[in-house]
Symmetry: C2
Subunit: 310 residues, 2 copies
Amino acid sequence: MAVQTFQLLILGSSAATPTVKRNPTAQLLNIAERLFLIDCGEATQIQLRKYKARFQNINHIFISHLHGDHFFGLPGFLASMHLLGRKNELTIFGPPSLKEIIQLIHKHSDTYLSYPITYIDTQHKTKELLWEDEKVEVYSIPLQHRINTTGFLFKEKPLPRNVDKYKLEKLNVSIAEIHKLKLGMDAIDENGHIIKNEELTYPPAKPRSYAYCSDTRFFEALANDIQSVDLLYHESTFLNEMKQRANVTFHSTASQAAHMAKLCGAKKLLLGHYSARYDDLSEFLMEAQPIFNNTDLAIEGTLFQVEPII
Amino acid sequence: MAVQTFQLLILGSSAATPTVKRNPTAQLLNIAERLFLIDCGEATQIQLRKYKARFQNINHIFISHLHGDHFFGLPGFLASMHLLGRKNELTIFGPPSLKEIIQLIHKHSDTYLSYPITYIDTQHKTKELLWEDEKVEVYSIPLQHRINTTGFLFKEKPLPRNVDKYKLEKLNVSIAEIHKLKLGMDAIDENGHIIKNEELTYPPAKPRSYAYCSDTRFFEALANDIQSVDLLYHESTFLNEMKQRANVTFHSTASQAAHMAKLCGAKKLLLGHYSARYDDLSEFLMEAQPIFNNTDLAIEGTLFQVEPII
């Protein structure tokens, strides 16, 4: 059975001021060939080209908040999709004022896009289902930052049960009845005999999930919204030595990100949103791994696969 | 005698859609250690870092028009100067709506910059003196594009006459009298004798000038505003094969840029603002040089010195 894609490409890992090596925040998530762009810092369109992403296939963009390092690449990206002839609708999820900013820019540049945009306003008070189709659902989750900010939780929907092809070949079962087996129901073969579901099927892989949490201070209640997530991206702007600065600026340390991963029962943690003051990122791992071992670094161009658990 | 700096650094050479190799338009001009940023396409701040420009020394930014590839890097650049603790005033010259866009972005991100910005509105009807100090003057010049657009003309002010140090050493002349000599006046030595200016001085280098013309269609009247300029940057979005497309989009071809250089009596021509459709830029030179020989290509990271003519 072909495994459904679930992978995350890091486009930018830097905090507010980019460096020559690190771009501001942006990530491209692919679940079952749906491409979700998460935040869109300056030069995201150049990063997408660099890593040869099929950017006209992005139909949903999620903006966490209106600090520039999370959306200053959006106007240019929208313009390039237009100039390259996009026709398909694009949906942008973000704070209500985002629409006002983009529309003002389009007004003064006399721009009429070749494709329609639908803006969906996010709110940062409660967890909310933002979007779903038959395979994926996306929630906004409240974060705690200096301005209204949401994270995003992406979840696969439950997969159909797997039907044992070898056993099936020996029986006369219609396509309609096979569909019932995949949904967990019993079936009837062409001779009218009942086939028990458990005789012919085995359980599907567990639905996978990804939680994106940037920017935020550490707060315990977040764990409730992202329980048992497979992959957790939690910002770590600072190391613990700068904990005081993290508090004041509503950011987190690597140690706090690791505590959150432990608290919510994540399977893997990704750190990112590193302050420009840090050159050597291995210190982030050294701080986080004693608390939560399965920790990795978000670095531009790195692709993280979330493997299915059968 | 130390020669006053006059050099242009290319930060971006691409037309509307950037490529992996080419960034959207931005240039850094240094005249007598005044740093002028001309246009500010997306990722200009990253380019400034890459080429190790002292970007906190930029006190004047000139935005030609409000198409995104000429100013989408400005919000991020303003934010980074703030985050890195800038205190000095910054002056931004550009279309009136630029201020509205920047202020709306700052409002919704709850940003209060650490330094003051003065916005000077440009108009695109007539050539106008925008700014001057004791060494440099800057004019806006009307261009013809789809939306209101100005070019910019940067000129050194006339330099003082050079005083012959060897001859001066043999005479008793006060500093105040030397100053008069530099201004072209006669002086009086400490014995009361008149020293004729031409006996002790020789002419200064001719003031140099740089004209920035992007984006614009070709139109002859432009030559009047940039007569005898030392260095002319004239956009060449297309090759002549796409002349029709250039007309429709209010852009120019390499051949038209070369005709403008000839018409205005420029000493050197720089081409740039290349459409993403062109990979091999040597074709631009091949088209322009038969018309105007001293033509070069604007390419990211290239530094063009304007040499003084003594």
